[in-house]
Symmetry: C2
Subunit: 370 residues, 2 copies
Amino acid sequence: MAKTNIVDWTTITNFVVDAFKGYGIPEEDAKICADVLLESDKRGIESHGCNRFKPIYLDRIKAGIQNPVTNYEIVKETETTAVVDGHDGMGQVIGYKSMQLAIDKAKKYGMGMVVVRNSCHYGIAGYYTTMAAKQGCIGLTGTNARPTVAPTFGVEGMFGTNPLTLGVPTDEAFDFNFDAATSITQNGKLEYYERIGENLHAGTVVGADGKAIEGDAGAALKAIGSGNAALTTLGGIGEDLGGYKGYGFAMFVEFLSAVLQDGSYGKALIGKGENGEKRPFHLGHFFIAIDTDHFMGEDVCRKKAGDIIREVRSAKKAPGAERIYTAGEKEYEIRLARKDGVPINESVQKEFIAVRDELGLTQYKFPFED
Amino acid sequence: MAKTNIVDWTTITNFVVDAFKGYGIPEEDAKICADVLLESDKRGIESHGCNRFKPIYLDRIKAGIQNPVTNYEIVKETETTAVVDGHDGMGQVIGYKSMQLAIDKAKKYGMGMVVVRNSCHYGIAGYYTTMAAKQGCIGLTGTNARPTVAPTFGVEGMFGTNPLTLGVPTDEAFDFNFDAATSITQNGKLEYYERIGENLHAGTVVGADGKAIEGDAGAALKAIGSGNAALTTLGGIGEDLGGYKGYGFAMFVEFLSAVLQDGSYGKALIGKGENGEKRPFHLGHFFIAIDTDHFMGEDVCRKKAGDIIREVRSAKKAPGAERIYTAGEKEYEIRLARKDGVPINESVQKEFIAVRDELGLTQYKFPFED
């Protein structure tokens, strides 16, 4: 077999499932966790896929701040609503079950909303909105996160990158799926800029002096980590370009991730105790499903959403711009391009090998190995 | 009586109600229209208050593109959902009834969502989310609008300023209420800049060359009107500062304003026929209510939302910044400052006098008159 950094989907899926199982996650849950993780790589969202397999999931289980066995407790339930306590279990399992519960409620009553407290990182938010759209529902989800983003006129991280994520069924080969942080950028992207030597985009990070930090992304990351800088909300520093709007959207996600479920928020989500020791993040999420058949029908929705998308794509383009994309389109094209497998970078290759050896999963031999 | 441009609330409310009645709006509906209109002035949102009384509402009734008698037809209804056809009636009446219907459904089933087609301008979106928050619900509304905003890498208005508006009950004297366009700026603000001689903020308007139009706001407005420029989405031109995120939020509003109700969208909302003749706008809106008592309860929600708000306000501030505001706070302070009445500018003074004289409402004598 020729040496390559491309690992086929069957191999990588089986390996990730077995590794999750090796860390104590029950098989059915491990399959969900693997599907959420690898869906990110299928869409080309490197930051949330295999790059996070070991550091964000396995290492946290090992550190004892995340439970491999998920105790999914429904604290309260009505026709359309549910409050869930995730008891620091696997965020992907909690997310999957919660969105499916919201969809089931929507299919019966028109709408469903499930809110979660005490969860862990749930992967790409867009996984859950895609679940909804595939089942003929408009889906909406969001999560709070470690505080790294400053409010307008603030210079200190008070809330997370708080994605607000939306899925809408269309009549195309892929549904509309908009999955983005409410901050301009996020730590994962800064790490990427640092790796490729790209400078910060001015206005994406604010320093203690209230001004944009420019230049080296690595230095900015350190400053954010030590509380001497913060990410900015969509719209940037101050009010001139609408920074208070991104701040408003971030707060919306912060509210829906905490106020209905009596959950944690803001500085409580730092993942560290008073003495700097690691502790669970206690994240909050929300999941909303809206059933199109309770309105004018799934066919009408899909057709009209497709018509809207196609009209927008037909807009007059800026000189040099060849295409106007709609949300989910680039990800769909990457999925097609990666049909045979996913490229694994060297750093993740080493992690895969170490995990395999640690767990004695000797049945796996990766194509990138000698 | 001393001459002043401040008109007390009783006088202005009675006058606006009587004028709306004079244009054929039934009394109960006229009261709703007046309340929505003047709530905008109470909050200091000049662009959507008395400044729009004549041009956006009365003149459109006179032009025959908006019906003073609102035929509020519920086309389809389920436990939690309803589809409404507004038949080109008064947007404020349609909005008020729709949000109350959504709230009533939420009180019974946990959630409610009402979508509307064939409506007219409904005033400040934040009026409806405030209704929800006052009644212990999280409220969400949005509306599509005349196409003036370009998608990322486009230079042509394909959708409207599409506000995405959120209300959350708190334990403070006012609820959280975030009411903002998903574009950085909007025509009303550009008109204001033109009046006060302030230049455009670079990046808020894109020209046919794909670059930011700078300088004179009046020239930019003309270019937008003639299709040679467009407003930009929150995040600005291109992708560097997240313009595609504002584009995603705008599309979300466009979808919810059309796909569930089989309504109009995009270029169909131009308000003109093939030969340039005025015609109804056929706007779409959506209204969502989420009842806090179907989750952990209204008290828990109000307390936690207040705690979140207060923590965010306590953030370390940029040098020179005295305060960090949360959404709804500035509007609340303006409301207190305007408890005795609202200042009416000269242009609106003339409109008020003309409308009074036209309708023979001789009982009204304004304090700004000689």
